[in-house]
């Protein structure tokens, strides 16, 4: 069993299945666009519960994707610790060890991808105009003021023509912002202007300005925010970065060497 679980053949067919399944996902993301969009606005378990009754196909697709990814994770774990570690110990050379570390890092990145899905909390597309506040767990986020230095019509643009006018000349990243005040258990912990691409961060909490918006019932412009609380993000970026460096190191070390046919093509 262990021999099969750690085999290259399983990795190959599993990767092939994952590619085909993700290709199916590309097609589904077009036919079930709304369901896929909602996936980004709430924790995944909540999304599954909400989406299953109305649109079961994306949920089934997602569950099968998780299953294939889990097999890949098990395969990578078995191969890494059952084969590569044994080989690295036996050969006592740098390259097999780097190969082993590279796979460990890949497992960590894959694990982080999975954990980020279920860990933490998230609320997407929160509309706030000046004076409005929103409660997120122990936090309360208050929009103090919305400052728009550029043409407001461009900032809430949707169509392709308007988007093409959203150039660096017409819109400055720091010309438009929302001043947010963050309270934790009614105690103010942060007060700062939040720009596009410059979110507010406090511990593991992130408040991101997604877009400016004009609510028809409000006179002044408002903002659409996404609030996330995910402690795994820094770990993910760190491990991901180290994995890229390890892959670069491994590529350089094996540049002039013909590797065994079984491992690397």
């Amino acid at each position: 069993m262990m021999h099969f679980l750690s085999s290259l053949r399983l990795a190959f067919y599993n990767l092939l299945a994952l590619i085909l399944w993700m290709g199916t996902g590309v097609v589904l993301s077009h036919s079930h666009e709304a369901a896929f969009d909602r996936m980004n606005e709430m924790p995944i378990l909540e999304w599954m519960g909400n989406t299953m009754p109305q649109s079961p196909l994306p949920v089934v697709w997602f569950l099968v994707l998780c299953m294939i990814s889990l097999i890949l994770l098990v395969n990578a774990l078995c191969c890494t610790f059952n084969r590569q570690l044994v080989l690295a110990r036996k050969l006592k050379k740098g390259k097999p060890w780097l190969f082993f570390i590279l796979h460990c890092l890949f497992i960590l990145v894959l694990g982080c991808h999975g954990l980020i899905l279920v860990a933490g909390d998230k609320q997407g597309r929160i509309y706030l105009s000046p004076g409005m506040s929103h409660v997120f767990g122990p936090y309360r986020i208050l929009a103090e003021e919305v400052v728009i230095g550029d043409d407001p019509k461009l900032l809430s643009a949707l169509g392709k023509t308007q988007r093409s006018r959203m150039t660096r000349d017409n819109i400055g990243l720091h010309n438009n912002y929302v001043r947010l005040r963050l309270f934790r258990n009614d105690l103010e912990v942060a007060d700062k202007p939040v720009y596009m691409l410059s979110p507010m961060r406090y511990k593991t909490l992130q408040v991101t300005l997604v877009e400016f918006s004009q609510n028809p019932r409000q006179l002044s412009p408002g903002v659409i925010l996404t609030i996330t609380d995910n402690p795994l993000n820094p770990v993910f970026f760190l491990v991901y970065g180290i994995m890229i460096l390890s892959l670069a190191g491994f590529t350089m070390l094996t540049w002039h060497q013909k590797p065994p046919e079984k491992d690397i093509s």
Binding site: L8, V210, F237, K262
Partner: protein
């Protein structure tokens, strides 16, 4: 001639050089083919220079910008690589066929600078697109190496192709890393469920697939070559038709 005409001129000149390269490679004039390859690369470099001066940023998106960047990377890699080959004829031939196919497929596409989207003011956005184009050039070069390996007799080409794939994977992952940072700052998550994300993941999986071919697949030249060609084809499709 106005600056707006420059992209079309660069495109036509590059096409002319690739055609000359193709003909000279076909008639086994390797050195002349190499000169045309160098000229094509210089023309693409000048296209990149034009974008840098005119738009105050590197090439990022759209038919013209993507073409000059990808062809430039392919050209530089081909120049470095062809010198190491004992029989570079096939390599020149397939490399110029690939470059010509790219140029021909973009025939009629608007040859102009892409709209200067306001998010291009952010370094992570610049790096994401720029590194992705660089990776596309590297994967396309790797695809040519795999075609040569499958059709030619130089055994070392398999290993060269594998090296190129891994180097391309490093650059591509670096692009995805900066893209994740962009996504985190823009939408609040390091990645988002979308067809773009799924396609990006498929590309990485294709590279992984090429690096995890079992012995019985490795023995079949066509399948082995397909493994090395697919990432190049897929990323080019993603960039030009996404």
């Amino acid at each position: 001639m106005t600056p707006d005409d420059v992209p079309a001129i660069v495109y036509l000149l590059a096409t002319g050089m690739v055609l000359a390269e193709l003909l000279t490679a076909f008639f086994r004039r390797h050195r002349v083919a190499m000169v045309f390859l160098a000229l094509r690369t210089c023309i693409c470099l000048s296209g990149i220079g034009f974008i840098l001066i005119r738009a105050d940023r590197p090439p990022l998106f759209g038919p013209f910008e993507a073409l000059v960047h990808i062809l430039c990377v392919m050209g530089i890699l081909a120049l470095l690589f062809a010198r190491q080959l004992a029989q570079p004829r096939d390599f020149f031939l397939y490399s110029s066929v690939c470059a010509f196919a790219l140029l021909a497929l973009q025939w009629g596409a608007p040859m102009a600078l892409n709209n200067d989207y306001y998010m291009y003011a952010d370094i992570t956005v610049l790096l994401f697109f720029s590194l992705r184009l660089t990776a596309a050039g590297i994967f396309a070069h790797g695809a040519v190496q795999h075609v040569c390996a499958a059709l030619g007799k130089e055994g070392r080409l398999w290993h060269d192709g594998r090296n190129t794939l891994l180097a391309g994977a490093c650059v591509y992952l670096a692009s995805e890393w900066t893209g994740s940072l962009w996504c985190l700052n823009w939408l609040g998550d390091s990645w988002q469920w979308s067809h773009g994300f799924l396609k990006a993941a498929i590309l990485f999986l294709l590279v992984m697939l090429a690096c995890h071919l079992p012995a019985q697949v490795l023995k079949q030249t066509i399948l082995r070559a397909a493994g090395g060609i697919l990432p190049g084809l897929f990323i080019l499709w993603m960039i030009f038709y996404h």
